[in-house]
């Protein structure tokens, strides 16, 4: 059972077991709080009975014209609650808000090219590799920009893969 609700500051004091995971980055405070201050609808937490935090998703909405899109900045699930489709539920929530509230064209995310379990999971959720971003992660590892079209993009133009990789400075948004 999962209660989904908006993430709030106090959750920062309770997400230890999620964030000690080596793949989950613990950002600085202004990073979290900027997301909370600007896109509170894109920052949700899943809570188990007894108030344990199961996982959370943080993201934003940005872009102009047909590149107006939802973006998944981080999605993570505590070890105890893995293998029960929680990440999928969190992703669906963000997609829903991008689609229905903000009327975005697509949702995108970046993933390390080496993180095959995650790439596989996003694939299952309907994301395709839109382009490769060379040396995106600390100037070392390539990133993959994965996208999923939303209902507003009727012809699914936003997810037609680019033929060539791009460099980080060619990216439209940080």
């Amino acid at each position: 059972m999962t209660t989904m609700r908006r993430f709030c500051c106090n959750d920062l004091l309770r997400f230890t077991s999620v964030n000690l995971d080596h793949l989950t980055e613990t950002f600085n405070m202004s990073f979290y709080m900027t997301y909370l201050a600007r896109w509170p609808d894109y920052f949700h937490v899943a809570e188990a009975p007894g108030g344990r935090i199961m996982g959370y998703i943080m993201g934003k909405v940005e872009g102009q014209g047909e590149s107006w899109h939802g973006h998944v900045t981080a999605v993570t699930v505590a070890p105890e609650y893995r293998r029960q489709q929680l990440a999928k539920k969190l992703m669906n929530l963000l997609e829903d808000i991008s689609d229905k509230i903000d009327k975005a064209y697509f949702v995108d995310l970046f993933v390390r090219a080496s993180n095959s379990p995650a790439i596989k999971m996003y694939g299952k959720l309907g994301y395709v590799i839109y382009r490769r971003v060379l040396r995106y992660y600390s100037g070392e590892e390539d990133g993959l920009d994965m996208r999923k079209a939303l209902s507003r993009d009727v012809e699914k133009k936003s997810i037609i893969p680019l033929k060539r990789p791009v460099t980080p400075d060619e990216l439209e948004y940080d």
Binding site: N10, T16, T26, M33, L36, E80, Y81, R82, Q85, S116
Partner: protein
């Protein structure tokens, strides 16, 4: 007055651009050069001056930056001809903020707003200044001005939030909320509302005033459509109905919520609460405090007639049944768990016997038993079962576990769940030693056999069965606690090191290991594992408790210094930037976050750990420099002679501190930062509930902060009082300030009272112990504090006649007590390698605190008797006194040197004992035989497993990893860690002896 197009602060943009570019690329020298050129053309431009100040501040030249900023401010405020624009003011604001002079930035904006009323840009700037200063009333006033000027909804809401802040974070009464409500009402009448957040704030305002009916009316009217997600609107509606006491209507609404989100456990609990007319869990508000951890419907106060109870429980059952039919989906567990909750309530009300609940639990197990969260899901329901039923349930689980035909991964998951249940019902503490050993063997066997299941997993992914090794460790630790056989402790360390060799990312193992290593005197290794957890940012607040308390009493000063500095920097940085983030929330119209951010900042400011670090960081500095009184005086001056800490100590009683440490992840044997079961005899842990332990620990922290905050000032006063020893003072008339002596007495009284004694009694007690009239044990539990007391008492007595002891008597008192206790510690500690949980930290504290402070008192006296550069005088009666005192001081120095010498000798023995011998002494604790009783079986199993492992079955990665593990290496790691710790301690002792000997020569 506003910036014209192409102008920045009245200066052409093209001239300013290079300066900003240079600042952005951190080429400050270059920026300064450009700026000097600019200033030669515009010497009276406040903007150019502000830029220069900004650059200087970035270069670390705070004083120059401040002086130039003040110039700019002066120009702005006095010269009518100069241009005032937001760019100039905001640049200046940045500098003032970084220099901690927020008030100056505010006064610039206030002036500008007075000069150019109705300028929105400037008013926003001023509003921002008030946000930074947390001046809620002024925020409100300027927001209202902006609202009046342009009539925009957002400014009205800024004012409303400012009012709410006055009520929830300031001193204002709730009456003020009516004013906010009136403002919004009036605005709605003329303009309506357009932002969902504005509506949320409005409803929260009504809710705070218990106007639930009005809030419901608004929500169901036109404005309700601002909440675009139906589920969100229904949730709000349901909660308002419940708070208004209309439980029937609320229950109807919650059914709708659950139909939309059948997995929402929290709302299922609200639903049940309403069915049983209990709204205690309902509380909304915009403070960002979600209803949180409502654990279950509490029905204790429920007095429903039988037939009502029956009909409501049957309504719940029917509804949940319907949900189950509609969403027959294994990824939705709430309705299944809801069934258990219904059975639990029936049981609590005596409607059914426990068998029904056990049956329900078994059904839940058969569906979800393989999930890692099964045990925590059902934890709550197990609590209502009596021990007999719990055991019955466990037996059924064990049967159910065997008969399953699941996939191997699921079967493994179910077995792990059974182990966890066994653990959570305290079964472990009643099993015999033999059974516990059997259990550990069983779990390790299962772990080894399940490794092939993880063969194809990426190293980043959690492996199947990882929890088995944590659980094995927990069993082994318990075996150690029961038997005191260090073999079990060694095995528990080995099993975790083994697990981390197989996959190095498992933080659960690292946390257990760091506590085991700390317990065994291998703090450097513990600290290494802690570092590998990559604890940073907000985790510093929640996770540091795993290592900080041990480090505070260790000789690893440099690592401790890093820990404290990183943590304090994180907190202080947040306090500095928090207001800007609050303003960001205002700007983006997320008003509910405004209040949340302010409350969160306050919560962190009241953090007990923050206060501990604030006081321990300077104490560490004082410890590190105690070898030199000059250094120490410099530090004390920087600490304002310890005065701010005394104030902190005075205020602590009135502060409501927050405890933000996440204690959930601590091992069972050390559930809080100041409790370690392993230090006492085996008793089982269920005798003391965790909640009361936590309360006790929190009370201890408060007391510790109150006490430790006095130390810097006590040191300062002691140095001063000791610098005018009484006989000497009488002779040559150079008395120290009597106020200082009086203050020292008052602080000593406080210190004694924190220790639980009146000053006089405390003095009698320590004298009694020193004369062997009282046993040593009477001071043992707070020995470091008592020795500090004695040291400061002696310093005070050098300048006071009040307690009727001669200076000599209290010198002897200190010498005698330090000697007694330190020697007692050395003899009782035993060899570190085979004495886990030893008293070494106390010994370290005695040397690094009371001994250090005492050496400062000695240095201070010596300086008075023999001022540097002067030779000892050799005539007259004053000299007789001087000689006497000099003699006493020499005695004290000798006594300290002897004591530290004994410690050094002990440490050297520990360090110099051959490693092979030490290795043998712990390694031999493992019997290393499969069939014998006692520790060793697990290691034996692992070694066998490794030698028979094959790469085809396990995959190359796991196979290779296994080959790297060696039991002997783990034992050597323990020895190396202990050696490092002891060497650091030895170094500290040697520095002390050296400086004391140098002093003695000087006398």
């Amino acid at each position: 007055m506003a910036s014209k197009f192409g102008l920045a602060g009245g200066i052409p943009e093209r001239r300013v651009r290079p300066i900003w570019d240079a600042i952005d690329s951190r080429q400050f020298k270059n920026a300064l050069k450009h700026c000097t050129t600019l200033l030669s053309k515009h010497p009276n431009s406040p903007y150019a001056l502000a830029l220069k100040a900004l650059i200087l501040e970035r270069m670390g030249k705070a004083d120059e930056a401040l002086s130039i900023s003040l110039n700019a401010k002066e120009l702005l405020l006095s010269n009518d001809a100069v241009l005032i624009d937001d760019l100039t003011l905001s640049t200046l604001q940045i500098v003032f903020q970084r220099l901690d002079h927020l008030d100056m930035a505010t006064s610039c904006y206030e002036y500008a707003c007075g000069k150019f009323p109705n300028n929105l840009e400037l008013m926003m700037g001023l509003f921002n200044c008030y946000v930074r200063e947390y001046s809620f009333v002024k925020q409100q006033q300027i927001a209202i001005k902006m609202y009046k000027a342009v009539g925009e909804e957002r400014f009205l809401l800024w004012a409303v939030c400012s009012i709410q802040l006055q009520v929830c974070c300031g001193n204002a009464g709730e009456k003020l909320l009516a004013l906010a409500e009136g403002l919004i009402k009036k605005h709605i009448a003329s303009h309506s509302l357009h932002e969902p957040e504005a509506l949320i704030v409005y409803i929260s305002l009504l809710e705070q005033q218990s106007k639930f009916g009005n809030a419901l009316e608004i929500l169901s009217g036109n404005l309700g459509s601002l909440i675009m997600i139906e589920g969100d609107r229904l949730r709000m509606q349901g909660k308002l109905l419940a708070r208004a006491g209309d439980y029937a209507a609320a229950a109807d609404i919650f059914e709708k919520v659950l139909q939309l989100s059948p997995d929402d456990w929290e709302y299922f609990l609200h639903y049940m609460g309403c069915l049983f007319d209990n709204e205690s869990s309902m509380c909304m508000g915009t403070g960002g405090n979600p209803m949180g951890s409502t654990k279950s419907v509490e029905c204790k106060n429920l007095k429903l007639p039988d037939e009502v109870f029956d009909s409501r429980i049957s309504r719940a059952s029917t509804f949940i049944h319907k949900l189950l039919v509609e969403c027959n989906n294994d990824s939705i567990r709430c309705p299944y768990l809801a069934n258990l909750e219904i059975e639990r309530i029936k049981l609590v009300y005596g409607k059914v016997d426990a068998d029904k609940l056990v049956e329900g639990l078994m059904q839940y197990f058969s569906r979800f038993g393989h999930l890692a969260c099964f045990a925590s899901d059902v934890e709550l329901f197990l609590r209502v079962l009596d021990p007999r039923k719990k055991s019955e349930f466990l037996e059924k689980l064990l049967e159910g576990c065997d008969s399953t035909t699941d996939s191997p991964v699921k079967a493994l998951g179910r077995s792990i769940s059974v182990f966890k249940i066994q653990n959570s019902i305290d079964n472990m503490f009643t099993l015999s030693t033999g059974d516990l050993e059997g259990l550990a063997v069983q779990m390790v066997d299962m772990y080894c056999k399940s490794l092939p299941l993880s063969k194809d997993l990426d190293i980043q992914e959690n492996m199947h069965g990882e929890e088995l090794l944590s659980m094995t460790c927990n069993v082994l630790v318990q075996l150690f606690w029961r038997t005191r056989d260090i073999g079990y402790l060694l095995e528990s360390v080995m099993i975790l090191e083994f697990g981390l060799t197989v996959r190095r990312y498992i933080w659960q193992y690292k946390i257990l290991l760091l506590h085991l290593y700390s317990f065994w005197g291998c703090l450097p290794v513990a600290h290494e594992w802690y570092k590998s957890l990559d604890v940073k940012n907000i985790l510093l607040e929640t996770v540091s408790h795993h290592i900080l308390p041990q480090m505070l009493v260790s000789p690893l000063w440099s690592d401790l210094n890093d820990l404290l500095n990183d943590y304090l920097k994180f907190m202080d940085d947040h306090f500095r930037e928090s207001a800007d983030l609050t303003f960001l929330a205002y700007r983006h119209r997320n008003y509910s976050k405004v209040i949340e951010f302010v409350q969160f900042k306050e919560r962190l400011q009241r953090s007990s750990q923050y206060l501990v670090a604030k006081i321990e960081a300077p104490i560490l500095q004082l410890k590190q420099n105690a070898y030199s009184i000059q250094e120490e005086e410099g530090i004390l001056e920087g600490l304002k002679c310890g005065n701010p800490f005394v104030e902190l100590s005075n205020e602590i009683g009135n502060k409501s501190l927050t405890f933000n440490e996440d204690l959930e992840l601590r091992p069972w044997w050390t559930p809080t930062f100041d409790k370690n079961y392993l230090l006492g005899p085996f008793e089982g842990v269920s005798y003391c509930p965790k909640e009361s332990l936590i309360k006790q620990s929190e009370a201890n922290v408060l007391k510790a902060i109150e006490k430790r905050s006095l130390i810097p000032r006590l040191i300062y006063l002691s140095i001063h009082c000791a610098s005018s020893v009484k006989e000497h003072a009488e002779d040559n008339g150079s008395t120290s300030d009597p106020k200082l002596s009086l203050e020292l007495k008052i602080l000593l009284e406080r210190y004694a009272s924190i220790l639980g004694f009146a000053f006089k009694d405390a003095v009698e007690l320590v004298l009694g112990v020193s004369r062997s009239q009282k046993p040593l044990e009477v001071l043992s539990s707070d020995i470091v504090d008592w020795m500090n007391f004695v040291v400061f008492l002696n310093a005070w007595n050098q300048n006071s006649h009040e307690i009727g002891f001669s200076a000599r008597e209290t010198w002897n008192l200190v010498n005698c007590l330090l000697k007694k206790y330190i020697l007692e510690k050395i003899t009782s500690i035993g060899p570190l390698v085979s004495s886990p949980g030893s008293n070494l930290p106390v010994l370290v504290q005695l040397i690094t605190e009371p001994v250090s402070w005492h050496s400062l008192v000695i240095q201070s006296c010596a300086r008075t008797l023999v001022p540097s550069g002067k030779k000892k005088k050799k005539s007259g009666s004053a000299d007789q006194n001087t000689n006497l005192q000099s003699h006493e001081i020499q005695d004290s120095i000798q006594s300290l040197c002897d004591i530290i010498g004994e410690v050094t000798k002990w440490v050297n023995v520990q360090i110099k004992e051959p490693d092979d011998k030490k290795f043998e002494s712990i390694f031999s604790s493992l019997q290393r035989n499969e069939h014998s009783q006692g520790p060793g079986k697990i290691v034996f199993m692992l070694e066998n497993f490794i030698s028979s492992a094959n790469d085809v079955q396990l995959g190359d990665r796991i196979f290779q990893a296994l080959q790297q593990w060696s039991a002997a290496d783990v034992a050597r790691k323990i020895l190396a860690g202990q050696r490092t710790l002891l060497s650091e301690f030895l170094r500290i002792c040697e520095v002390k002896v050296k400086s004391l000997q140098a002093l003695k020569v000087h006398l």
